[in-house]
Amino acid sequence: MTPELGQFALILALCLAVIQSTLPLIGTYTGERHWMSLGSTAAWGQFTFLSIGLCCLIYAFLDNDFSVAYVASNSNTLLPTMYKISAVWGAHEGSLLLWVFMQGAWGVAVAAFSGKLPETVRARVLSVMGMVGVGFLLFMLLTSNPFERLYPAPLEGRDLNPLLQDPGLAIHPPMLYMGYVGFSVAFSFALAALLGGKLDAAWARWSRPWTTVAWVCLTIGITLGSWWAYNELGWGGWWFWDPVENASFIPWLVGTALVHSLAVTEKRGAFKSWTVLLAITAFSMSLLGTFLVRSGVLTSVHAFATDPGRGIFILTFLCIVIGGSLIIYAWRAPTVTGGGRFDFVSRETLLLANNVLLVIVAALILLGTLFPLIYDAFELGKISVGFPWFNKMFISFMPLLILVMGIGPNTRWKRQDPAELARRLRLAFIVSVTLGVVFALPLLPGASPLAGLGIGLAAWLVTTLTTSVVDRLRHKRGLAAIWRDVTVQGRSYYGMVLAHLGMASAVVGVTLVSLHGVEKDVRMSPGESLEMAGYTFVLEGVEKHQGPNYRADRGKVRILRDDEEIALLMPEKRTYTVQTKPMTEAAIDIRPTRDLYVSLGEPVGGGDWSVRVYYKPFVRWIWFGGILMALGGLLAVSDRRYRLSVRSRRTIDATVTPAAQEASG
């Protein structure tokens, strides 16, 4: 009964989404306030029914209702409860439900926190969001229904893919989807502004916090994904340039460009039509990513089992969204008047350079991801683009971007005296070049030109940011004033500082782990030891172990440094009982400046095991960087100018509410 209830709730949600996408929009043209205010009501209704749908599916999982096909193929009575819940989004149908649920949640958030928006703008935004919701609900109900029944119902489920039984993966997809879907808010704001013909600083200020929150979610999602791959795939890589990773990284790059270009639009009124185009692109790239994952057109470690029907549906949806929004753009953008003027040397120019670079990198990654498809379509053969290509592209443009990142925060809006800028950055430049040279010359062990470049760039970020902060605080008198600046006045600014520091941290991590990481696959007999990077790894033995829904061979590896034990690692080779799938569970000894990573391969005869032993210096700094970026984004969103408007809205609400109720009632 519950699954039918869920199914019914989803259909009702679709009906409400249709209402949400049409009536408020029509209302904005006819001036009908009742119709416009329907947007919020419909958004709440849609969200309520989506929640019911999601709860029904969760209940089906907790209840071991294997008569539901999706539950039967992704759960099992022995599956721990936490993973039963995360199994809800462990495969295609459920993750789509989660996606639509998030979309509904963003809609409700817009309805709830946008009281300060003019009624027409809010109605248009919610309408566009409703359209996106209709698209995804139709996709789910027509091609991938999570509540489909299975007859006869099996007695036992086929269990969740063991790779997905990991705490990191329980939260990775929701965060990622929050980000993907969050860009639909930026997209909706952009389209609403185009439809209304009013693109101004106020518009940028409204859509900025939404965009930043979406970007934060995407950042966390990608960071978690990388961390999961490192932990769970058992071969210690943190990024593979896999099509699906690219599918999340491209929207992230475009989203990062959007966050920056929105800043220019808000502060200086410039780049308006470019910002709109970026908002459209960011969401389109999210959709394209979905298409690539769901349709199975690309060979990828993440690809779901394929179904051409789904691919065609999403492709059609993609064409409608991209085509439709670009037509509206082409129709409306020429009416957008230019914003504030700026000099050649100014923060605007540097942010423009930031945007150009980010978009170029995003476009290159997109090219590399789609190239095999293009090649195949012209019947030139089946190819793949190796990840050295992606690395090369990335390394070619990131240094430029980081150079610009250092200068930007130290530059004035509108006009900057180049001589003054050079004077201000002189010290930072000297320090970072010196550090870079020290790491490039073979004076230190492990120094190399690339290490010099990486460290120099990270130092450039840190020193220029310090310069900027010192400059800002120089005129503050006393600690109290500084404290007030940090906690109250300048959250948006300090958010930027934090996020940019995150970038520095990631650069250090990526540079050092790529250059100095040591990876060894060896054959070891029990009792045998191995020297690596100054550590001694002793395989003490391998014994049997029984887990809740798996059996395992558990290795014991003692790690010594200078004859002193520093860790005892227990990597496992698990075989999950139901899917009989072997799974490598790596064991990692973690320190801030390095990871020691051991995973078991397989028995190779004579009691020997193949063992994988890695030394990963500074690998944590990559994810720490991601966390810093996300925190920076959150801090920026909490800036008082967004909160001030909330407070002033409350006072307006208090005076206006009775009238508004009358009007909408």
């Binding site: 003027r341 170029i360 290159l364 696959d521 054959r523 799938k581």
Partner: protein, 152 residues
């Protein structure tokens, strides 16, 4: 030309230069990093390059996995249900590697016809068949009854 226009011209030129560099870089780097895919039949027919790395794939033949007594070198046969190619790999095979399973491998062809792999990929999802492998199986036996090689 007004100063404003001049500035705009510079900006546009700068962007074109940036995009131009990007495209040039991308295309030249493609040459070294594009990897073609060949099925075992094509390799046996001598269509695959001998000096350039490429990718191949197919099903691991049942009973073909042979391990050396020293080190981590392993040999197995990969088939598209028509021809066989022996693959040699030194290292740890992925978790989902097993006989009958579809795999994709990257490496070079040795003059004796053995494919020396640097990387062997088996997929996360047991129902998932890499599109290249699925297609080469299809071209050999159109309508092969069990293309996945796994029992559902």
């Amino acid at each position: 030309m007004t100063p404003a226009r001049k500035k705009r011209l510079y900006l546009v030129l700068l962007m074109i230069a940036g995009i131009g560099t990007a495209v040039a870089l991308a295309v030249t780097a493609f040459d070294e990093n594009l990897m073609f895919y060949y099925s075992p039949s094509e390799i046996v027919a001598g269509e695959a390059p001998v000096d350039h790395p490429f990718r191949m794939g197919g099903l691991v033949t049942a009973g073909s996995v042979r391990r050396h007594s020293e080190g981590l070198t392993v040999q197995f046969d990969v088939t598209d249900n028509d021809k066989l190619v022996t693959v040699e790999y030194t290292g740890i095979l992925p978790d989902l590697f097993r006989e009958g399973q579809g795999i994709i491998s990257r490496g070079t062809l040795r003059p004796d016809g053995v494919f020396v792999a640097d990387e062997v990929l088996a997929k996360h999802d047991e129902n998932y068949m890499p599109p290249e492998v699925a297609e080469s199986l299809k071209t050999v036996h159109s309508g092969a009854d069990n293309p996945g090689g796994t029992t559902p």
